[in-house]
C-alpha cells in the first residue's frame, strides 16, 4: 500500500506533469531528453507506466507500443523517493527495489543527468500542495 499515492490516477496526476515539466525545463530538458534514450518507468502499488521517448521529445502516459531501450521497474513510493534524491541507487539495484533491464551503459548515461531534477521535484511538490510528501 502506497504511503503517498491513493491510486494510479493520483500517481499520474503527480508524476506525469512532473515529467512534462522536466522535458520543458530549459536546463533539464536538453540534459535528460538529449540522452536520445527511450526509457520506460514501470510502477506498481499503484500500477502505472510512463515512457520518455527522448528522440521524439515525448512523455507517454500509460501503455504504449514504443519499444524502450531501458526499462526501470519500481514501487510508486520508491519512484517518489528516487525523485526526491533519497534513494541510494546502487543499493536499490542490489535489493531489487529498482530493477533495471537493458544496457547498463544506457542507464549510466541517463542517471547523472537525472540528478539535477531532484531539487525540481522538491519544489514541484510544494507547488502542487504536497509539501508534506517531501518527508517520506
Amino acid at each position: 500500500m502506497s504511503e503517498i499515492f491513493k491510486d494510479s490516477e493520483h500517481f499520474y496526476s503527480v508524476l506525469y506533469p512532473f515529467f512534462l515539466k522536466l522535458r520543458d525545463d530549459p536546463k533539464m530538458g536538453p540534459a535528460v531528453f538529449g540522452s536520445g534514450l527511450i526509457v520506460r518507468f514501470e510502477y506498481h502499488d499503484p500500477e502505472a507506466e510512463i515512457t520518455i521517448d527522448c528522440p521524439n521529445n515525448e512523455v507517454i502516459k500509460g501503455e504504449t507500443d514504443v519499444k524502450p531501450v531501458l526499462t526501470m521497474t519500481m514501487k510508486a513510493d520508491v519512484a517518489h523517493k528516487f525523485w526526491l534524491g533519497k534513494i541510494n541507487l546502487a543499493m536499490a539495484l542490489v535489493k531489487r527495489d529498482i530493477v533495471s533491464k537493458g544496457p547498463m551503459s544506457a542507464a549510466m548515461k541517463l542517471l547523472p543527468r537525472i540528478k539535477g531534477a531532484y531539487p525540481m521535484y522538491n519544489d514541484y511538490l510544494v507547488e502542487i500542495g504536497m509539501a508534506d510528501a517531501r518527508n517520506a
Binding site: 546502487a90 539495484l93 535489493k95 530493477v99 544496457p103 547498463m104 551503459s105 547523472p112
Partner: protein
C-alpha cells in the same frame, strides 16, 4: 569510521582449497546432482591437461562430459554464449563446469544463464540483478589468481555489435562450488601471474574506496591486499612456489568476495574501456590505471586508502592523507616489483584513442560507485592523460 546506514553481504559459493583438488570435480558435481556436464575451457588450459583431469574426475563419478568447449577466447562474445547454451541444451546438460581464467568462468556463467532461462543474452538478460531465481548448478576451477570470478556475481562479456564490454550482475550467477587448486596455477607465466595478481589487488583496493564499501567486504579486502603485497612478487619470481601460488589463489577469491559485495570504481571502468578499444588485458589495464585512479580519488577517500596502507605494513601516522599517499607509493612499489608496465603507451594504446576510451568509460556501471563523482569525459581524460 562511519558505518553504512544499510548493507548486505552475499556469498553463495562453497570454496574448497587444496593441492590436487581439481580431482574432486566429479565428487562435487555429484553432490550437485549433475549427470551430464558442459565443460568449458580454453586452448592453453586444454593443452596443459587440466580440462582432461576435470573430465576424468567427472567420469569417475559417473558424470558424462556431454559437451566440451575448449576454444574460449580472451573476450567471449554474446553470440558464442548463445551458441554454447543451445548446444548444451541439445546435449541434455544439467551441470556446467568451468576450468580456466576469468573469461572461461564468465563464459560458463552466462552459458548457464541461457541454458537455465532461455532467451538471447543481450536482448533478454542485460540489466542489473534481473535474475530472480537460482540457475542450474555450476562449478568453477580457476586457473589464474586474479578475477575472483569463481565467487563473484558478475560476468563481463564482449558485445561485438556495441564494441564494448557488457556487465551482467546477479547474485544467482555465482557458481555453487569453487575449487581452488594451486597446482593448476603453477605453469602460469610471470607476466600473466603479475597481471592477474594486480587485477585481484585492484579488486581489493577498489572495494575499499567504493561508495558501497562495507565492514565485511573491508575486512576481506584488507586481507587480500596484505596477501597480494606479500606473495605476488614471490609467485612472479618463482612460479613453482606452491605456497605463494596458494596464497594468491586465496587472495584473489577473497578479493572477489569483497568487490562482488562492495563493487568497484573508475579504475575498472577505464580498464573495461581500454580493453574494449585497445585490446589491453584487463589485469594489466587495471594495474596501469590503479595508482592514477587512487590519486584522482584521494581527497574523497583518504581514510579508505589508509586501510590499504596498513595492510601493506605502513604504520598509522595519524594523518589519513599521509597514509593514503603511502598506499599509492606502496602500490607503485608492488607494480615495479612484479615488472609490469606503468603507462598505457607502453601497451599499445594510441593517444588518438583516449577520447573514445573516456567516452566509453562514462557509460560503465562501475563509475557510479566511484568515491569521486564523475560526470564528464574531461575528468576521465585527466586520469588517462597522466596514465598515458
Amino acid at each position: 569510521m562511519k558505518l553504512p546506514e544499510y548493507f548486505e553481504f552475499h556469498d553463495r559459493t562453497k570454496v574448497i582449497y587444496g593441492q590436487g583438488t581439481i580431482k574432486q570435480t566429479g565428487e562435487e558435481a555429484q553432490k550437485l546432482a549433475g549427470t551430464k556436464a558442459l565443460v568449458v575451457t580454453d586452448q592453453p588450459i586444454k593443452k596443459l591437461g587440466f580440462a582432461d583431469t576435470a573430465a576424468a574426475s567427472l567420469d569417475k563419478s559417473g558424470i558424462e562430459t556431454a559437451l566440451l568447449i575448449d576454444d574460449v577466447p580472451q573476450d567471449s562474445d554474446a553470440d558464442m554464449i548463445n551458441d554454447i547454451a543451445a548446444r548444451a541444451k541439445a546435449a541434455g546438460v544439467d551441470i556446467c563446469i568451468a576450468v580456466g581464467g576469468g573469461s572461461v568462468i564468465d563464459t560458463t556463467k552466462m552459458s548457464n544463464l541461457i541454458l537455465s532461462e532461455g532467451g538471447d543474452l543481450l536482448a533478454d538478460h542485460q540489466g542489473t540483478f534481473l535474475q530472480s531465481r537460482p540457475l542450474g548448478p555450476m562449478i568453477a576451477v580457476p586457473t589464474t589468481a586474479g578475477t575472483g570470478s569463481e565467487v563473484t556475481f558478475a560476468a563481463v562479456i564482449k558485445s561485438k555489435a556495441q564494441n564494448m564490454k557488457v556487465s551482467f550482475v546477479s547474485h544467482f550467477f555465482a557458481p555453487n562450488t569453487a575449487i581452488l587448486d594451486p597446482e593448476v596455477t603453477l605453469t602460469l607465466p610471470p607476466t600473466l601471474t603479475a597481471g592477474t595478481g594486480m587485477d585481484a589487488f585492484t579488486h581489493a583496493v577498489e572495494s575499499l574506496h567504493s561508495l558501497q564499501s562495507q565492514p565485511i567486504a573491508d575486512a576481506l579486502a584488507a586481507d587480500a591486499v596484505r596477501r597480494i603485497y606479500e606473495y605476488l612478487p614471490k609467485a612472479v619470481e618463482d612460479g613453482s612456489n606452491i605456497d605463494a601460488r596458494g596464497q594468491m589463489l586465496i587472495a584473489s577469491c577473497i578479493a572477489g568476495l569483497a568487490f562482488s559485495n562492495a563493487l568497484v570504481g573508475i579504475v575498472h571502468g577505464i580498464a573495461h574501456s581500454v580493453g574494449a578499444i585497445a585490446g589491453v588485458p584487463h589485469g594489466l589495464a587495471n594495474s596501469i590505471i590503479l595508482p592514477y585512479g587512487m590519486e584522482f580519488n584521494i581527497d574523497f577517500c583518504a581514510e579508505r586508502y589508509a586501510i590499504a596502507a596498513r595492510a601493506m605494513g605502513v604504520p598509522p601516522s595519524g594523518d589519513a592523507m599521509r597514509d593514503a599517499g603511502a598506499a599509492i607509493d606502496k602500490t607503485r612499489e608492488l607494480i615495479a616489483a612484479v615488472g609490469l608496465p606503468t603507462k598505457l603507451s607502453e601497451v599499445g594504446v594510441r593517444e588518438d584513442q583516449l577520447d573514445s576510451i573516456a567516452d566509453l568509460t562514462l557509460g560503465d556501471g562501475t563509475v557510479f560507485t566511484n568515491p569521486r563523482m564523475v560526470c564528464d569525459t574531461d575528468e576521465v581524460l585527466e586520469i588517462l592523460k597522466k596514465a598515458f
